[in-house]
Symmetry: D2
């Protein structure tokens, strides 16, 4: 059930109504529009009549079925997440993020960033905080990595996506990055999701390796529940029994998720397969299946990569792949996002203001 507030209702009025509803044992959300409150499950019809009589309430609209904020029933068109350099994820244009798995040095990141930018990437990826299965593996550069990402953004104009792995780092990542990534292991780290829900930094939410699509969307719900509606889903492979790939890229999940939800969905073929020779065919398949973009591991010198060395493309291989993707993208009517607005990005925080 959606409660439409009167035009003159301000935040205070919305908060007052929220408190009132809670005191009645209801659980209101802020809707997709500032003038909306949502009640799901819906209260009894008598309560709806009562609410309709309140002075702040313009209308009370019944909606059939479950009214999750991630669902197409809640919002029928695809959400678009817009970044500082004008890149729009979820629109007609197809968007590619690329860069190293882990930020290692200024040279490594700068060289790679310049190369992926030149080849057609619109977003720079790079991990400053690394969640590692083993405590003996390289754990990332931390805040020093954020500084290197900022420098690479200043140099190339590419907005930056980087992973955040614990609530304590959310503030720093949100202040620095253009997109905060939640990794597969943290898809159900609810404290992290709640903290990110309180920010307004766009979030790239990777699917857990054994999460159903429904659980993935419920994880996204934690973000939207907090008021952060800039959420991008990312399929990166599920755990299966065949050792020939590290994970099994579940491309069916893209049309399944897009049918259920208005959120944009991109694909990570690099971490899914863990094999450099499968990145290109899986990237092309992702275009065919209807993804809104890709996120790809590229390293200026893959043999020396500090993490996941076996899956990073060279800059040359990445450029070849982008050129192979162009005609396929044209064939499906999804042109590659162009570099029109490519002046160096301002600080992410300014961008989102």
């Amino acid at each position: 059930m959606i409660i439409e507030l009167i035009p003159s209702a301000d935040e205070t009025a919305a908060d007052r109504l929220t408190d009132h509803l809670r005191s009645r044992g209801l659980h209101p959300w802020r809707g997709g529009e500032p003038s909306q409150l949502v009640l799901d499950p819906a209260p009894a019809p008598a309560v709806a009549d009562e609410l309709r009589a309140l002075p702040e309430v313009a209308d009370v609209i019944s909606v059939p079925g479950k009214l999750r904020r991630t669902s197409r029933a809640y919002r029928s068109d695809t959400s678009i997440v817009e970044l500082g350099n004008g890149t729009r994820i979820g629109g007609t244009e197809f968007v590619i993020a690329a860069g190293p798995c882990a930020v290692e040095t200024a040279t490594q990141l700068g060289t790679t960033a310049a190369a992926v930018h030149a080849a057609g990437a619109r977003i720079l990826r790079g991990g400053a905080y690394k969640p590692r299965t083993s405590p003996f593996s390289f754990q990332g550069l931390g805040t020093e990595g954020l500084r290197l990402l900022e420098a690479a953004r200043a140099q190339t104009g590419l907005p930056v996506v980087t992973e955040v792995i614990e609530p304590a780092d959310v503030e720093a990542v949100a202040a620095s990055a253009d997109i905060a990534q939640v990794g597969a292991r943290n898809m159900q780290n609810f404290a992290l999701l709640k903290e990110l829900g309180r920010t307004r930094v766009p979030v790239l939410l990777k699917r857990g390796i054994s999460a159903t699509v429904d659980e993935w969307l419920l994880a996204a719900e934690y973000l939207l529940d907090g008021g952060n509606t800039s959420v991008i889903l990312c399929e990166r492979g599920i755990r299966s029994f065949d050792p020939s790939t590290r994970f099994t890229l579940d491309l069916s999940a893209i049309p399944v998720a897009k049918k259920l939800s208005h959120l944009p969905v991109i694909v990570d073929p690099s971490h899914a397969a863990g094999r450099v020779d499968l990145v290109a065919p899986l990237a092309k398949a992702a275009v065919g299946v209807g993804a809104d973009g890709l996120i790809i591991d590229v390293h200026n010198d893959p043999a020396t990569a500090a993490c996941d060395a076996g899956q990073a493309l060279t800059p040359e291989a990445f450029a070849t792949l982008v050129n192979e993707l162009r005609p396929i993208l044209a064939a499906v009517g999804r042109p590659l996002a162009t570099a029109a607005t490519d002046e160096p990005a301002t600080l992410a925080s300014a961008v989102r203001a």
Copy 2:
């Protein structure tokens, strides 16, 4: 190790050498060329020298690694399976098989066959023998279904692929159909594979729902071991945990299998997802990932289909899909197999003679 026979060596000489090798405890195969015998595992170097001295032997060639007949090491170019109407599976052209899951009536099959032919399918699919999880489900028309498939072939010129589910039916299916399909449940029905290995009917070998790529190729090895080299692999989804699709289409398996093996690989998006709305996106993804073709459920009246009603496209939806695939196929340099040789096919047995 490959034993190259002298040019004048006939079948009798090859058989004599085979018997000799067996008497030595070795396990020779007929190689990819008529003039070759293969020994894998390879015998000791001294034995190689001995063999080289035999009058029928032109040369003895050492090959590193395991020498399976399905492997790229054994044959570096992709095998092409050629059918009666000139359709070649595994070449540059992309081939689509389409038709009903189960053959039901002459009208159902004829109407559907004409429609998929007009839309661009090059092979007619239809099940006469149906393996069913429950003994209470429709079990297929059997030989009557083969007759209906022959009639539809005569009418449209489309070669026919149909499933064979037990060794006792191999002779009948091989005499009637252009391609004998081995279903996922029978991928490791070794008696069936051995029986098909003794025929020369092309075989479409579906991947078992929990088979690794390696196990799939070993199942194909049973066919090649029997001397039947016309084998097409078909990915149709693996069992996973997410209930949103019936199976999880493992598109990574296509480039994995094609890298390991010279056999052509096609994709069945209909049985994988079990959802009509996912057939088109998964078909496009299959093109992107590098499959050699598709096999798609189409029914003239899906609502009445005797089996798997929820996954069959209408003829109209199929035609739309083929038209959407054309530009993508062009973009990846794999044109759709055309209708140039489309005179009504002769009987399959004649075709293969």
Copy 3:
């Protein structure tokens, strides 16, 4: 719905009624008792009234829910499969089958059989026909293996369980063995199941490595549908993602299957784990979870075993395990089947007469 025939109704009367029902578009089965016919799905109430009026019909009994022959609704007490030496599977006593994975030689089989007999096994296992993932692996001794099993039975008095892998071998195996095993790969080899359904040899039906419990019971339904009610289920591990065991023994499936079905259920810890060190703990767990028995790989010289060498217990380790199981069996009130009736078994065919 169950149709109870009048006491004087003979087979001809039952057949006549069956034909009559089929002509009405119904699908009658022979029920658990000779005097019963079953209709499921049940026809309309009006039809029930009509049937009640027929002279051959004593009563028409409505049964709620789906009436599968494997279900507890169809038969509430556990089926007992009784063998020639008096061994009863599914009763209070716990039954252990043991022996080599593959029959290799008279010495190997005889030594192992004598040892497992002495240690407390009540059934001898041994494969004469071996389904192998690779055509290059040892494929079994075939009928020669059956002869060796018969000799070992004559020597020890132990009834024999051996695998049958294709319909053409059913007659030979049914004539020779006391229990015909259907392996995991063949759980949905419906031609094999139908052929076994026509015999009266007890069948050990292993669960497919990715079969749900429901699919497993439906496979058993093929056997009961053919009239063979002597069916034993066997859990042997499902395919999962963890490489530390070959398969994941799904012990929950035992109480799940026993709740749904009246069929006895035993456990194969040897093939599940593929690790000799896990056989004992998993065997004890199988007792705890309520299995009716075990089937265990034992080889007189595991290091030389022709198949699955890594999982066979030595005779000594098997004897130790049986002794460790005894107090646990006592604690759960399921004594180990004793050797009271241990005179050499007569021929299996005589036994079942």
Copy 4:
């Protein structure tokens, strides 16, 4: 490589040596004994000689293979985690934790705690902080729940295990509870693990639903790496394809983990199956397979439980189960932990001092 310090070396000497090794680019750990430092990977032999010459070093011992702190190679006997009431997990005695999934009210918790105590449980379980797949589900009472658990402990003398779901709550949980539980979703929440590694509260580490045993042990390594050696592993089911149970309890993982690691391992049959009727058979199987204990959902009124209502035993059913477990435990030589030391526990912090 293990560096054995001289007996007179105090903490300052150990820290000085640690700093020295770090300055050399090495990564020393504190070993299982206070007098040990561990270097893994081991440095070059020349470095070993150099270290041997240092005044604080008594000996330098080479150890083959990977030297993880969780491994049997590092510590050959099973670690015992001892709690305030004298309960020892990992010793000969078998330990049962029981209580409600979520703490709801003083009455609910108190009633249940008294009942499970009387029936033979030695630890009280109850969730104050609840990680929930959906943001719309009950999220737990938080610190109020900790207070109720403390009250129930004071009343019954049972030490308390409760889940901690984010780093910010670690201090509060460690100060209140006797065991901090890390749930399956958080098994790779490395920030949480690191925070717990800095405390000395015993940790119950549940296996992730798609974690391999190796990944599970590496997660435990994060705890031991921080210096917290009181770690108990808990198997609670992995994600599989069969919908008949919520998860598939992987009982093989218990002997696998116990062979690789010295950590004690317990089993949660309640969350694994999600079915009240499977708790007893799976609990008995856990005894058979060699687990060190159980953790079981019990609720004084399951029908009203705020979470996972379908899996909680009534107090009566729990008492029956414990009585059925006693003879099985006796048969495997693992008596149930008795109530000898059952005076009301002091505060957990005091207990651990």
